[in-house]
Amino acid sequence: MPEIQVENLTKTFGEQRALDSVAFSVEDGELFTLLGPSGCGKSTTLMSIAGFQQPDQGRIAVGSDTFFDADRRLSVAAERRNLGIVFQSYAVWPHMTVFENLAFPLKVRKLKRREIQARVHETLDLVEMRQYEKRYPHQLSGGQQQRVALARALVYSPSVLLLDEPFSNLDAKLRERARMWVKELQQTLGLTTIFVTHDQDEALSMSDRVVVMSAGRIQQVGTPEEVYRSPANRFVAEFVGRVNLIDGVVASADGGRLLVDVDSSHRLTLAAVGANPVAKNVTVAVRPEALTLLAADDGSINGTNTWEASVHTVAFLGDHYEYDVNAGPLALTVQSARRVDGDRVKVHIPPDACAVVADDS
């Protein structure tokens, strides 16, 4: 079964560690996303799986086939890995028609003419590009080229599909449609897929699981919800979505509640304790949309984690307002569905929306 295993992948370029003990496994039929800023090692990881880069250490296996094993000096050539890959630039061969592009991998596999034709047509139907089979790539739009690239990667029934930032060259509207479409196709085919992106919206909306990478290391592996709601560290919290980070000292860790002093008049209450002893310096993360903003004279919420604040800036963003407010030492960004008038407001941080995040590893 095409379960992908990546163990202890390490690669250095000169002084720089591009990959540092990267390890994960992808389950059959899963859409698994490598997410991170440029230079984090996600593309190097993908290209190592595809066979276009040689890690210095580690092991890569798909199902029972070992593709790469540094200890055994084993590296299967890229063309013998039977993987489907869609590149960022699509890499649709410009001197071949759509049909010829799809036929090439089948000719390489020495299929008969009739078989080739049947398979190419079947796959073109799948991506709804059948009527364009005689066109050359330059006669197609970006979105159509992407479909051709995907079809070419699927036509020979690869064991695994690799997607290298396939949406980054599409405009915003098209990108959203393409996302849904690819996700649907992947689910229909049940194809194990590794997807590389720097776009957190893409990662969250499409993936079964996400790996967040930074500086060649894995920061966190989890479902989109896990990564978003309980980021493992500061980097993940800041990179995936937007976040308010609050530094403080643990004052008490009893009764399932963690009390964190930001300063003498601002004590933050968290709903979970974790391994945080008294007097430890901690960073608390809370998402802007989890905060509640109230008019200064609104009495509906009081007490825990509720403070007076002054409004610094307000921005209208269509479906919500965004406030930058100062509550004593706390500089907070708040997303509010409602407009709250006045320079003075009240801000409330729900205790169960807070998470203590570790420093970066």
């Binding site: 050539a77 063309e79 039977n82 890499a91 390489v108 596999r109 699927l154 085919l189």
Partner: protein, 579 residues
């Protein structure tokens, strides 16, 4: 969304290619390295023996070096060569850069036409052009006499060092022009716009932004031009002899051919020294350029930029450029044409009284006829061979994981810095020491072809590489992912996309091999004559008319092939920086 069983229909894995990519890559690497660097081994060996390699026996010695270094004429030749090269470099770089700025950044009338015409000298056959200069501007030349006798104006004597520098400088100016043009095209025009917005006048922008930005390009062009002019052979042989001005190249040539006491050992020693100097210059140049920036081609975004207005100076400057082109290119070519159809070219008698077909009829003589035939054969065969070899080597260098791939670009560019006479002498010794195979090469035109091919490999590479660099690597990775091996990916995807560069390389190779001559000087035998070598030897023997006709054949073929090639394949002038 139709079929759910899709992924389950597994296909057979692609079969392994019968030709392992590693074997093909290794073979290419070995072939290129042996052909380019191989000939230097016998050359070094010959320079360290007490007698020529064709004589039996012999022991190791440094005598050839001692003898050469003890000859004051040799050092005098070096002094002449360096002075000449410095003058050539200064002139070509200053005027080449000025022309490039005029054509690229100002509203000079006719700048588009000029930026093409100015390239002509480097494309026309160099030996033929020197002959044209001699016929017109040489001592006793047509216009020299006319100017001095009718107008009492004395033109620059081109048989002096400054005069020879003028001839060579005019030939090499296009290199500086192309390098600067490429640099100007690459430079982000926003840098200049920013200076304009900051309040600088257009002229000030030119002085404080544009020209300083050109500095790396100027240094690059200067080193290349200096290296090339050190190796000039035709000019000192044809122009220097009358006043007994020797360059290193002509000194070595005379030593080689001297009937009295030929000294191949010392010639080899001198060639080694020249090789060391040229290699040193090439290394300096690589350092200056850093990494692969040198290959970046003329791909500047064709952003609309505001051109510097020359105002009232536009037409006068255009006229100056026109006069320059007329005097350095048009007149020598016309002179050759005229020379080929008259018995004598003299201002005393109008040419139409002296018309004759005998010069052209002389081309039917066995030596001339064979030269033309041989040149035609080796130009076609050599261009095919060079293009195929360089295409393969470029793929290995830039699109493979072959462990030694990074050495290939340097090896492919190395002959650019190697004077033609060194290649000639190197191949001479190589054929001599390689037994039956060498004898076969030595006795046939293929020996000369191989030397020409190696000499001109860099041109094919500088045409091929920029195009390859523009073919995204993801295209061949997609081929590999689809299951094709290295060679199949190259054959089915990369090479078809490289086709324009392959044609361009073929056309350029054809012209370069057709017009090359100096390596052949050491390799020709009766029966294996080629046009350039024949022109040189026949001119020295005084048969100027037939040689002019032969030169006109070269010019006509060159111009036709380049024009047709440019039309068919949209060849850009020489591909890139490294003209």
């Amino acid at each position: 969304m139709t079929t759910g069983t899709y992924a389950a229909e597994a296909l057979p894995r692609p079969r392994r290619s019968w030709l392992p990519a590693g074997a093909l890559q290794s073979a290419t690497w070995v072939l290129v390295v042996v052909l380019v660097l191989g000939p230097f081994v016998p050359l070094l060996y010959a320079s360290l023996r007490d007698r020529p390699l064709y004589e039996a026996g012999g022991v190791f010695t440094v005598d050839p070096y001692r003898q050469l270094f003890g000859d004051s004429a040799f050092w005098h030749a070096w002094l002449n060569t360096l002075g000449f090269a410095a003058l050539v470099t200064a002139g070509a770089v200053v005027f080449g850069a000025a022309f490039a700025i005029l054509c690229g950044r100002t509203d000079l009338p006719g700048r588009k036409a000029y930026s093409r015409l100015v390239l002509l000298p480097i494309l026309l056959p160099s030996l033929g052009m020197v002959l044209g200069w001699i016929v017109i501007w040489g001592p006793g030349g047509y216009l020299t006499n006319m100017f001095s006798q009718r107008l009492h104006i004395h033109t620059l004597a081109i048989d002096t060092i400054p005069g020879m520098a003028l001839v060579e400088g005019a030939r090499l100016l296009p290199i500086a022009f192309l390098t600067c043009q490429a640099a100007l095209g690459r430079a982000d025009s926003a840098l200049e716009d920013a200076a304009r917005s900051a309040g600088a006048s257009p002229l000030r922008v030119l002085g404080s932004v544009t020209i300083p930005m050109l500095r790396p390009a100027l240094l690059n062009a200067a080193t290349l031009i200096f290296t090339l002019s050190i190796a000039a052979l035709g000019i000192p042989l044809l122009l220097g002899t009358s006043r007994n001005i020797n360059f290193v190249s002509s000194y070595l040539y005379n030593l080689w051919t001297s009937a009295a006491e030929p000294d191949p050992g010392s010639v080899s020693a001198g060639a080694m020294m020249l090789l060391v100097v040229a290699t040193g210059l090439l290394l300096i140049r690589n350092r200056l350029l850093g990494a692969e920036a040198r290959f970046v081609s003329v791909t500047g975004r064709a952003g609309r930029r505001e051109l510097l207005s020359l105002g009232g100076w536009g037409w006068p400057l255009a006229a100056v450029l026109a006069i320059y082109l007329v005097f350095t290119t048009v007149i020598p070519v016309l002179g050759l044409a005229l020379m080929s159809i008259v018995t004598v070219l003299t201002p005393l008698l109008a040419p139409w009284h002296l018309l004759t077909w005998s010069n052209w009829q002389a081309l039917g003589d066995p030596v001339f006829r064979r030269s033309i035939e041989n040149s035609a054969i080796i130009s076609v065969a050599g261009a095919i061979l060079a293009t195929a070899l360089v295409a393969l080597a470029t793929l290995v260098a830039h699109r493979s994981r072959f462990p030694l791939r990074r050495t290939l670009p340097f090896v492919l560019l190395y002959p650019r810095a190697t004077p033609g006479i060194i290649i000639g002498i190197g191949f001479f010794w190589t054929y001599l020491v390689t037994g039956a195979i060498g004898d076969w090469f030595r006795g046939s035109i293929w020996g000369i072809m191989l030397a020409f091919v190696i000499r001109n490999l860099p041109f094919a590479y500088v045409v091929m590489y920029p195009t390859l660099a523009r073919i995204g690597e993801e295209l061949d990775r997609a081929g590999r992912a689809a299951g094709a091996g290295w060679w199949m990916t190259c054959r089915r995807i990369v090479l078809p996309l490289l086709r324009p560069a392959i044609f361009a390389s073929f056309v350029l190779m054809f012209v370069e091999i057709l017009n090359d001559y100096d390596p052949a000087v050491f390799l020709v035998k009766p029966g294996t004559e080629v046009m350039g070598a024949t022109m040189l030897s026949q001119f020295i023997q005084g048969s100027i008319g037939p040689v002019s006709a032969l030169a006109m054949v070269q010019v006509a073929v060159t111009v036709t092939v380049l024009a047709v090639g440019a039309k068919l394949f949209k060849i850009r002038a020489m591909g890139g920086d490294d003209a």
